[in-house]
Amino acid sequence: MNATSPTAETPDASQAPDAPAADRTDDALAIRGLSAGYRGVPAVRDIDLQVPAGSILALLGPNGAGKTTTLRAAAGLLPVLGGSVTVLGTPIAGRVEHATRAGLCLIPDNRGVFHRLTVAENLRLARSKDGYGPALDRFPQLRGLLNRRCGLLSGGEQQLLAIARTLLLRPRVLLVDEMSMGLSPVAVQRILPELRRVADEDGTAIVLVEQHIDQALSVADEAAVMHHGRIVLTGPAAELRQDRARIQRAYFGD
């Protein structure tokens, strides 16, 4: 894991092949000098993030800092206005198809579950060889809800379903936006280790956008803090966990 701070003078990795960022070839997800935004106006600039297989990056920052935009651009949902995103060596170039084919999954902050389908139908949509049994083993709570229409589920149940469905796809790179939003503490405490296990066992690279800094740092390997569309702080999660004041300052942009 190597999340380069913008102060490290590596604005564009493709033009600076000797920069440390470009040397990493084992990165599952590599974002270099990314600018992305809406209607041609960038909302995030010069984002550099590299996540190796099997590692978790906690992406932190205050509301409106650009975390969601970064994830959406990485998933190909937004056109890339500058820089590049590659997933296991495949350039994404603002195309969702490229991202999904390369093995990237995004759980958006609206959860992306289909309200008119039942829970079972939602799970079936994940093209998985073993059916959706593994999802039920992972989250037994869903077993009793299989035939309920998704729109009727509680907010937290929908989030569980979204995570369960995505894990069925066995992603190589997993981006989770606002993971714990609406989840009870006990559910978060169960899911976070689950994600850790997915990273360790399947070698999935995970980016976790979280409001609960402590919880996120407890499972992550690395952390990055965004402010006003830029990355203002990066470092190993364990280290930052000890030094909360630094994160606090980064939240206010200094």
Partner: protein
């Protein structure tokens, strides 16, 4: 009893058409959320194509034609080619119209499908002519394909062909239903209609999934209609286009979500209509009900059933109707209202004869379209009854002036109040039926009014529904005087009345009433939680809209001297809605555009008289409408990028920023937005 059975089976031929069209409509709605008014037109083309092939082997294309062999083509190949032409049209509609509109408001899609419907129909008239086919279209008939065998069962003569048709309908519906229920791609298709982006994130291609359904329904609709046409009757350039109306009713029975129910309902409706037709020849059948029962009764039953099944407040997770175009709340400044008013006044003075007449018609249509702005644009209720309300008021005006001799201004007020009462009655279903379903339900209401009131011979004397000329304080306000087809006095009476009502409307829409309407339009549950009495507000909207439309209907009536029912049909209502949407359904200026472009307005006269394009009028209107709805989308800002930049620059001065870009949402904060359309689309 035997008679009933026999007539029921005869009805299976039309029933099969209803069933398959209905099942197709439901399938398309499940797969894409679109209510496709063009389903009948697609089948219409297929029927003509097959007939042309079997006449002399000509394959007619939108441009040019190809001779497939010399001489007539044999039956089944012709049928297959015909059905395939349905598939091609359907796919083309998907690729060119509905795919670009996949995230447009439901209303935009409805309007686009009306455009496609009119476009194909106009093209059928133009292309299947003597020049292209080499035979006289008037002499063309759909030749039979299915067996003509019959057998007797319990005393009734049963045609095997009709049973085959019913079987085909059931098989088609079963196939479609199974696809959505049991296959992964079918389930994914349903998912795509709801959240296309989430589906793409799972590695599916929503466009391809939708294309499968478009193709399949186009083919099945074409095939069924081609096979059923010989049993149903002749060939004319409109009939099957209008079969979409009963098909919509049938789809509604299946609540636009159950293919099986829609299919069954289609067969039942076909049978029932034949039986009613048979019964209405009996002496005991009441004469007031002799007209239109077959059309109206099933519809009314459907609406009542839907109402009873519906919910007062939408359930948790129920689908929102989809965003409508953004709103520009009218700001009344004396000058901005006075200038167009004065210009119109001058135009009235300067024109005469036919031109002045169509100018006045445009003014009246503006009023009618303004009622659409209120009801659909602001309150979000897609209603196709506007013209029916107008017609009902005109009808009341005729009775009030000729039978009761009610004097002029009072006559309009009372007639408009009749329309208001009717509007409230029609509004009741809207308390529980929403979105596209409501659109279809209001067609039902319009149709019921049309066939029971306008076209009912027992309500209309042989002389027609005459309307006495208006006069006030001894001065005649009659539209005609001597050779003058439209007097200045009448024109100014119309102008003043419409202007006053529009100004009143602008005040309403910019005030508390407008805000409550918009709250209901964007979220009924939240509106109720904010203390808004949602049912009352909806009924208020229907009442106000039907009042405005009613006044419009009275003015149309006065301008003709009698009520001509042709001005108030469902098709005219659809056109007015479409024109208003294209003009801008969330602003009063949109109503003005609709007034100018609408039926018999200034633009119509310009096209038919000045340009002499009468033959191509429908085609041009449909094409322009499609262009406007698909390419220059009213639900989007015209220059999103530039506008956003301007706003960004002006951000420190919020009030200026808003004035400069009233429709473009500002550059959103990075974390909060679900961008409606990513820039690489296509």
């Amino acid at each position: 009893m035997n008679d009933l059975l026999q007539f029921a089976v005869i009805g299976f031929s039309t029933g099969a058409v209803y069933a398959v069209l209905g099942a197709s409509l439901v399938s398309l709605h499940i797969a894409t959320g679109v209510v496709n008014f063009a389903q009948g037109s697609v089948a219409l083309w297929a029927v003509w194509q097959t007939a042309a092939l079997r006449a002399n082997g000509t394959l007619v294309l939108p441009l040019g034609s190809v001779a497939l062999g010399d001489g007539p083509m044999s039956a089944w190949p012709a049928v297959l080619v015909g059905a395939t032409s349905g598939l091609v049209w359907s796919l083309a509609a998907h690729l060119l119209v509905f795919r670009p509109l996949r995230r447009a408001p439901a209303l935009g899609q409805v309007v686009a499908s009306v455009g496609v419907m009119l476009f194909i129909q106009a093209l059928v008239t133009l292309r299947f002519d003597r020049d292209t086919m080499g035979v006289d279209p008037g002499g063309l008939v759909p030749l039979p394909v299915l067996t003509a065998q019959t057998f007797t069962f319990g005393g009734a003569t049963i045609a095997v062909g009709n049973l085959l048709l019913a079987g085909l309908a059931v098989a088609a519906a079963a196939g479609l239903a199974a696809y959505f229920r049991f296959t992964r791609t079918g389930i994914a298709t349903k998912a795509g209609a709801e959240d296309e982006q989430a589906l793409r994130l799972m590695g599916y291609s929503p466009d391809r999934l939708a294309a499968v359904v478009w193709g399949a329904t186009g083919f099945l609709s074409g095939l069924t209609v081609v096979l059923a046409a010989p049993a149903i009757g002749g060939l004319d350039p409109v009939s099957y286009m209008l079969y979409v109306v009963p098909a919509l009713a049938v789809a509604l029975v299946g609540r636009l979500s159950s293919i099986g129910v829609a299919c069954a309902a289609g067969l039942v409706l076909g049978a029932l209509q034949q039986i009613l037709l048979f019964l209405s020849t009996k002496p005991w059948w009441p004469s007031w009900a002799s007209a239109g029962v077959g059309d109206a009764i099933p519809f009314v039953v459907v609406v009542v059933a839907l109402f009873l099944l519906g919910r007062g407040i939408p359930e948790r997770g129920a689908r929102e109707a989809g965003a409508l175009p953004p709103v520009a709340v009218p700001q009344l400044r004396p000058l901005s209202a006075a200038a167009p008013l004065a210009a119109t006044g001058i135009a009235i003075v300067l024109t005469s004869g036919q031109w002045r007449f169509s100018l006045v018609m445009s003014i009246v249509l503006t009023l009618v379209a303004a009622s659409v702005v209120l009801l659909t644009g602001y309150l979000g209720q897609i209603s196709l009854t506007t013209m029916a309300f107008a017609g009902a008021a005109g009808f009341a005006l005729s009775k009030l002036t000729t039978n009761a001799h009610v004097p002029f201004p009072l006559s309009i007020l009372l007639s408009a109040l009749v329309a208001t009462a009717l509007g409230i009655v029609v509004g009741v279903p809207a308390l529980r039926i929403r979105g596209a379903q409501l659109a279809v339900a209001t067609i039902a209401a319009a149709l019921a009014i049309e066939s029971f009131v306008f076209n009912n011979p027992s309500l209309t004397p042989y002389t027609g529904n005459l309307i006495r000329d208006p006069s006030m304080l001894g001065h005649s306000l009659a539209v005609r005087q001597g050779t003058d087809v439209i007097t200045l006095r009448f024109s100014f009476m119309v102008l003043v009345m419409v202007a006053v009502l529009l100004i009143a409307l602008a005040r309403l829409l910019s005030g508390a009433t407008g805000r409550a309407f918009l709250a209901v339009r964007s979220n009924e549950r939240a509106a109720a939680a904010a203390g808004v009495n949602v049912p009352a507000v909806k009924l208020l909207g229907f009442a106000l809209a039907s009042f405005l439309a009613g006044v419009g209907g009275c003015l149309i009536g006065y301008s003709r001297g009698q009520l001509s029912t042709a001005s108030f049909t469902v098709l005219v209502g659809l056109t007015v809605l479409a024109a208003t949407y294209a003009g801008g359904i969330t602003r009063i200026s949109g109503a003005v555009v609709a007034g100018l472009a609408g039926p018999l307005g200034v633009l119509y006269l310009f096209c038919t008289q000045t340009l002499e394009l009468g033959k191509y009028y429908t085609l041009i209107v449909a094409a322009v409408m499609l262009l406007r709805v698909v390419v220059f989308r009213p639900d989007r800002a015209l220059m999103p990028q530039g506008a956003a930049r301007v706003r960004r620059l002006l951000a420190p001065f919020p009030s200026i920023a808003r004035r400069h870009a009233p429709t473009a949402p500002a550059g959103p904060p990075a974390d909060a937005v679900h961008e409606p359309e990513s820039a690489h689309a296509g």
